[in-house]
Amino acid sequence: MADTRIPPVAAGPLAVGLTTALHRAGLPTTPERAAGLARALQLVPAVDRAALYWTCRVALVTDRAQLPVFDAVFSAVFDGMLDAADNRGDPTAPPPIGSEPRTRPVPPDSRPSTPGASQGTPGTAGGDDGGEEGEREVLLAAASAEERLHSTSFADLTPEELGQVRELVRRLVLSTPERRSRRTRPTRRSGDRLDLRRTVRAAHRSGGDPARLVHAQRRWQPRRLVLLCDVSGSMEPYTRVYLTLLQGAVAGAHAEAFVFSTRLTRLTRQLALRDTDQALARAAEAAPDWAGGTRLAEGIGQFVSGHGRRGLARGAVVVVLSDGWAQDDPEEVAEAMRRLHRLAHRIVWVNPRKAAPGYAPLVGGMAAALPYCDAFVSGHSYAALEQVVEAVREDVRRR
């Protein structure tokens, strides 16, 4: 069809132009990808818009979450160009780009579409540089002035004190119980199976006689840690400290971090930065529903049916940080928690309101969720956060 033929443009400049536009829009494109697209365009001639679209999309996009941005940029770049050509208002033109059936909204774990986010993930290994010893030193140095810091609720601290507490919280080490991994390590003691490869290698030394048997023993691996933090309006006094906790866990324990108020946002990528303030700023950018209302069932439900069911929550220790004041039906909260409980190894619920005198989780979302929690702790102050560390480390299921 000559009508929908795009004006002849050399593959190279086209690839570079589109890649640059995408990069400006915040997608992590590289010159390497541009070169790949140029090669692809030589194989698939851009006879019409659909062919060009698919070739560019396959060659440049690396994640489903990038599709909306890609579609918008592609449309902006090429629709202008097509209009300038002679097919204005062509009724036989291929369907508008981005109109292909989409069964679900794009998952909220999208990378933020800010230019700064296009750099690679900084290394997260070894982020717990403070280590347990550092933490202990800090604890030993705690003088009476700091006693107040430890036991006062985060809600009652002055901004300076809050800064100090966040510094302490950053060094908290969250470690999960271990599970047996499929990988093995050699051992002299008789284990459940023989490591034939090593036994034979050892036998070479004794002239082919397997005089020494080497057994294989399963290795142990820490369970995955998932943190779901409520960032709704009612949690505001606590969220900054909790986000610091999340950030420390992501850097130190390779945890997965999510926040929710009206919807769920995955923050693992944003929080993986070493610089705390920069990480928090990036996180705030990524979650638009900051300090909104609480949809507890929605947040947990989205987590379970999205990331959780795909394997994130399976066998993991899940920590929910929320005051349980939800707008939605307690029955729905119970349903979401039931599903989460079936997947997770342990659920730890951190509720800063628990410490308030006279508080009892009798009604609403909290009462509905409680039967499915393996531990229920307050975590309203630095001292109370140590209960959280304890609860995460513990390895018993209540049922």
């Binding site: 090669r39 698939v44 698919w54 690396t62 990528r269 795909r310 394997g311």
Partner: protein, 307 residues
């Protein structure tokens, strides 16, 4: 060498797949319906050549796509199912230790001389999918499917890609085995974890959407040969309706195929309330989802297609 290798596929593959339309037709001929996007992605994966990363909900045909591609190229498919803790011995090769021990004993019993080279020869090598794909003799490249790569750990991911980039494996005792025909690589992922940037950088990417009901019906009719057309259409529409509910495990194409196959065996030709009542279990495989659908009623599921 690498620069030359990247300029395109081998002559024979080029002749077989001259353009995207030819590939789409060939896939159609082996009963795999690919939309233009997927056909373009597979075409580029074969012709560039570059590994192709396929993502999509469970049951949209990611694995089937690789199988169909192997049938189109008329080459073997080597499938490596990834899992947590998979290592080189399970993916690449392993020495057959029991057989080596037996060889030593036999040689001793016979009093025959035994060289180390005898023990570390090709006969004693257990070939795993990666090595098989690299050793494939042609005439066309094999298809290597790395299924659910997100389940393997990041170290394994990096190791695999090193092997594939070189298209060669070094077995210390045997020397380097270089691929005469580097395999066409297809990876699938369910997004249980974010894949490493180094991997996504090297791959073409395609997200497979759940297809429109008409296409689902067409796929079902091809996969369940004896099924009546109205039944396939009604079942595809019904599953589309089920997917609009908030399901823990939304039924995919595989479930529609199971369902229609089950109904065909039951001798059902039209999807009505009784048929639905009899066969909940073959389309919804989660108790909560079944309860949710039952509250809407079998009639809701069966009827809306007709009126």
């Amino acid at each position: 060498m690498t620069a030359a290798a990247r300029t395109g596929a081998e002559e024979e593959v080029r002749a077989r797949l001259p353009d995207v339309a030819a590939l789409a037709e060939a896939l159609d001929a082996v009963d795999y319906l690919a939309d233009p996007g997927l056909a373009t992605a597979m075409f580029l994966a074969v012709r560039l050549p570059q590994p192709l990363l396929l993502e999509g909900e469970p049951g949209v045909g990611k694995t089937e796509a690789a199988k169909a591609l192997a049938r189109v190229l008329d080459t073997p498919l080597y499938r490596l199912q990834c899992f947590e803790g998979i290592d080189a011995a399970e993916a690449l090769y392993e020495w057959n230790h029991p057989r080596q021990l037996l060889g030593i004993r036999l040689a001793e019993a016979r009093g025959a001389p035994l060289d180390e080279d005898d023990l570390f020869g090709p006969d004693y090598l257990l070939r795993r999918p990666l090595l098989q794909a690299i050793e494939h003799r042609g005439p066309r490249p094999a298809v290597l499917l790395l299924d659910e790569i997100d389940r393997a750990d990041a170290e394994f991911e990096a190791f695999t890609f090193e092997v594939l980039a070189e298209a060669a494996v070094t077995v210390p005792e045997l020397g380097t085995i270089r691929a005469a025909h580097p395999p066409v690589v297809v990876l699938t992922s369910n997004r249980t974890r974010e894949l490493h940037d180094a991997l996504t950088r090297r791959c073409l990417y395609h997200w497979i959407d759940y297809p429109a009901p008409e296409r689902v019906a067409e796929i079902v009719r091809r996969r369940v040969p004896g099924s009546a057309e109205p039944l396939a259409v009604a079942a595809a529409a019904a599953v589309g309706r089920l997917r609009s509910l908030d399901m823990a495990k939304p039924p995919g194409i595989a479930e529609v195929i199971d369902w229609v196959a089950a109904l065909s065996i039951l001798g059902v030709e039209r999807l009505d309330t009784a048929a639905v009542e009899a066969s909940w279990g073959s389309v919804l495989k989660n108790r909560d989802d079944q309860e949710l659908a039952r509250t809407r009623g079998a009639a809701w599921l069966a009827d809306a297609g007709h009126g």
